[in-house]
Amino acid sequence: MENQMKRGLLDVCVLAAIKDADSYGYQIIKDMSPYVEISESTLYPILRRLEAGALLTVRSEEYNGRLRKYYHITPEGLKRIETFKEEWKEIMMIYEFVTKEGKKDE
């Protein structure tokens, strides 16, 4: 997949993973893994980027005698998911058109 496109998609995936409840790094990876494989090295810059863009906030909480970072989605983050859903409808239409053309050629 085109790199730029995948990057944008993963951003939305991570936001979706913290949409209903705050979550932490390892949990996000586990939640996403049935749908998309994502590694720590990919997740880290995404979280940083989303934090810088104020789409999520970070807080540290003690867990098992150590600190763990929890990620919380902001209203802007939720808005981003909604925009994505709208945009995706358009992409699905394009997909339909592309595959339909394909059948005609055969």
Partner: protein, 210 residues
């Protein structure tokens, strides 16, 4: 590799990043290992699951702007050990010798940098301008050709018309060629940026290929 070796290695490779940036990365990966340990993995397995160290550092560097890295380098050099008295004396006494050399060298470096930077974008621009000339030349040829034919200079007009068509037609595939060139140049500039970042970051080990 156990947790400690991994984190030390990561710290070594990221040396040169601003301190806060570096600690954030270390904290993140440390938390990831701890969470895997809680999940029942052994330390070795937890570290292995994080993947290749080079991959990890590449991803971290990707999102840190070059300016920030250079700034940190300059800060580190400045905050290094103070100068001894005799060094200051030498520097002052030697200034007629080294000052002009240092000045001219830095000016040359700056000019080279600017020239290289401009050249880079001018190359892309030139391709598109050439394409524009093809297109404009094409239109002009067609118009002049028609006018010439209408004025009764049929063979001459016909030739002009044909040349116009040829040029106009050429401009279309050439446009796509320009896009490929621009894309390649942009990819190249990303590679160069990454190379410069790597120059500043990480203590290199002897014999290690970067």
């Amino acid at each position: 590799m156990n947790k400690e070796t991994f984190l030390t290695e990561l710290r070594t490779r990221l040396e040169g990043l601003p301190e806060t940036e570096l600690n954030k990365s270390i904290d993140f990966y440390s938390e990831m290992i701890d969470d895997r340990l809680d999940d029942g993995l052994s330390e070795e397995e937890a570290v292995a699951a994080l993947g290749d160290l080079k991959d990890i550092t590449d991803h971290i560097l990707e999102d840190v702007p070059l300016g920030k890295i250079v700034k940190e380098k300059v800060r580190k050099v400045k905050s290094g050990r103070g100068l001894r008295p005799w060094e200051i004396v030498l520097i002052v006494l030697g200034s007629p010798v080294w000052l002009p050399i240092a000045l001219s060298l830095s000016i040359v470096a700056l000019v080279l940098f600017i020239v290289f930077y401009l050249l880079y974008w001018v190359i892309i621009l030139v391709f598109y301008i050439v394409d524009l000339c093809f297109a404009l030349g094409g239109v002009a040829g067609i118009v002049c050709g028609v006018v010439a034919m209408a004025k009764g200079m049929a063979p001459y007009g016909f030739m002009l018309f044909g040349c116009g068509l040829f040029l106009g037609g050429l401009s279309i595939p050439f446009f796509f060629f320009c896009n490929i060139v621009a894309k390649g140049m942009i990819g190249l500039s990303k590679l160069i940026t990454k190379g410069i970042k790597n120059l500043f970051i990480g203590r290199k080990k002897k014999g290690e290929q970067q």
